[in-house]
């Protein structure tokens, strides 16, 4: 990993991809830690609550409130920066990196998409 880099330009809003090439959302926010003179990236935050907080403004805070109400203040997905293998046009995770399954994806699969005939067919 590069030791020192522009976090906003190289990391923010980038696609997160695991070792199998599956998408796991965007880098919606970052967890930074002060370390001597500089800041160290501790973790990547992804998912709806991180995104709406980042969005800010009346729309962002309204969406965040709604999310908190619906999910009992479920926190965003946290990916420790140590699980990042490399960053190019996307943020690539190491094999075996643990990414929590997305709530909305699972809910829609279980309640809607999997019930439609042909949901398991190769596209």
């Amino acid at each position: 990993m590069p030791q020192s880099f522009d976090v906003v330009l190289t990391l923010a809003n980038r696609q997160i991809v695991d070792a199998d090439g599956t998408n796991h959302g965007k880098v919606d926010d970052l967890l930074l830690r002060e370390d001597g003179d500089g800041l160290v990236v501790d973790a990547i935050l992804a998912g709806f609550p991180a995104w709406s907080a980042r969005l800010g403004g009346p729309l962002g805070s309204w969406m965040l409130r709604t999310w908190n109400l619906l999910t009992d203040t479920r926190p965003p997905d946290v990916v420790p920066f140590s699980e990042v293998e490399r960053i190019d046009s996307a943020v690539h995770l190491q094999r075996g990196a643990k990414v929590p399954e997305n709530l909305l994806e699972r809910w829609l699969r279980e309640h809607l998409v999997a019930k439609i005939p042909g949901a398991g067919h190769e596209g």
Binding site: Q15, V113, G123
Partner: protein, 410 residues
């Protein structure tokens, strides 16, 4: 045949940009009212959409990142969301219009009221987007859409005064009975339709569906160089047929039936049958292109799994978006709004979506971190910058012109 199939993505993309239901009617309208005096606008549009599709296709082939991925990455969450709202609005309106347009066309053929056909087509399009492989989709509708070349044959058969048509192309004058404001409105409408943002979103996402890598840059360019000019030829053939047959009769083109009249005059029943196949394929193809593009842009903005390659259950959010779009279309059309009018409304949202789509693509195509040795050359940058200015002016001018001319009626 294999060579032809290799460029099917470019052809299908161009069909959505140049001969979707709104374009079919607009081209014939423009032809009958303005002759070929606006033909150069289409040519300028073909070059513009080719420049940005090539750029975006190159970004996909080299970095694997499709257009809306890049848009979110460069514009950030907020401005990216604004573009997403604008793009999805344009794309959805077009999607709705295609379904309404197919229903109207079938009303002409069957005398069954079009509102009964609307849910039938909405379900048909959804089934295709749910089940069909991407390659089947691009091959079937890309190739069948070529039936519209019957307009080119018809034009030949009509034996027009070619030098007169040629003179119209370079006349640069406002025809009698038309005001300069109306001419400006149609200029902007034609240019805006050619440069529609979903064409680039679809083309670059199609590159991911077709698994392009840097080795496929030649194929990608071939798609651009054949697809978009072909779309332009189809659009101009329809306009020219209308100019030769409908213009002298003073026909005001308002629906698809009138668009096909010159073919009937020139080639009889067989010609009409081929034109109908072309209409159907182009409209259905454009419905697939826009329906998928809605899903592509939302999924790429949020970083979800998307596309026709994973099983639908593995891309549940992507397929839910497409399902919602397919449900929305009949709900909007049941208000009996005219589908052609629906496409004209999309001008409003293009004003936001067009600059915010092309600017980040131009920036990333210059980023060595993404592109390595394949960054933009001088030609791509010069054309890209010029078109970014042109398309932004057109996008902003579109709004007042729409209201002043009441969508070109006056």
């Amino acid at each position: 045949m294999k060579k032809l199939l290799a460029v099917a993505l470019g052809v299908l993309t161009a069909i959505g940009g140049f001969v979707d239901i709104g374009d079919l009617v607009t081209s014939a309208q423009v032809g009958s009212r303005f002759g070929l005096s606006l033909a150069l606008v289409t040519v300028v549009g073909v070059i513009g959409i080719s420049v940005f599709s090539e750029m975006s296709g190159r970004v996909v082939a080299v970095s694997g990142r499709p257009a809306f991925d890049v848009i979110r990455e460069r514009l950030g969450a907020r401005l990216g969301l604004l573009n997403l709202a604008g793009s999805v609005a344009v794309t959805l309106l077009t999607f709705i219009a295609e379904i309404g347009g197919m229903a109207l066309a079938l009303e002409l053929a069957t005398s069954v009221h079009y509102l009964l056909w609307v849910p039938v087509f909405a379900v048909m399009v959804w089934i295709v987007l749910w089940r069909a492989k991407f390659q089947l989709l691009e091959n079937a509708f890309g190739l069948l859409g070529l039936a519209l070349l019957v307009f080119t044959v018809a034009l030949w058969q009509l034996g027009p005064d070619w030098s007169d048509l040629g003179a119209q192309v370079v006349s640069f004058t406002v025809p009698e009975n038309e005001t300069w404001v109306t001419t400006a409105y149609y200029t902007v409408a034609l240019f805006g339709a050619a440069m529609t943002p979903y064409a680039v979103l679809f083309f670059s996402s199609g590159g991911v569906e077709d698994a392009w890598t840097a080795k496929d840059l030649r194929t990608m360019r071939l798609n651009v160089l054949i697809g978009f000019p072909l779309g332009g030829v189809l659009s101009l053939s329809i306009a020219a047929c209308a100019a030769v047959v409908l213009g002298p009769l003073g026909v005001r083109v308002e629906h698809l039936g009138q668009v096909g009249m010159p073919v009937a005059t020139a080639l009889g029943t067989l010609g009409v049958v081929i034109a109908l196949i072309g209409f159907f394929a182009a409209t259905f193809g454009a419905a697939c292109e826009t329906g998928l593009s809605v899903g592509y842009s939302v999924a790429q903005y949020f970083g979800w799994t998307w596309g026709k390659r994973p099983r639908p259950r593995e891309a549940a959010r992507f397929h839910t978006v497409i399902l919602l779009a397919s449900l929305l279309a009949p709900l909007v059309l049941v208000t009996t709004i005219d589908p052609i009018t629906v496409t004209e409304f999309s001008v409003v949202f293009s004003a936001v979506a067009i600059p915010l789509t092309y600017f980040p693509i131009l920036v990333v195509a210059n980023d060595r971190g993404y592109m390595g040795e394949h960054t933009n050359g001088r030609l791509a940058n010069t054309l890209g910058s010029v078109y970014l200015v042109l398309v932004t002016i057109a996008a902003v001018a579109g709004l007042p012109l729409l209201f002043i001319t009441q969508m070109g009626v006056q």
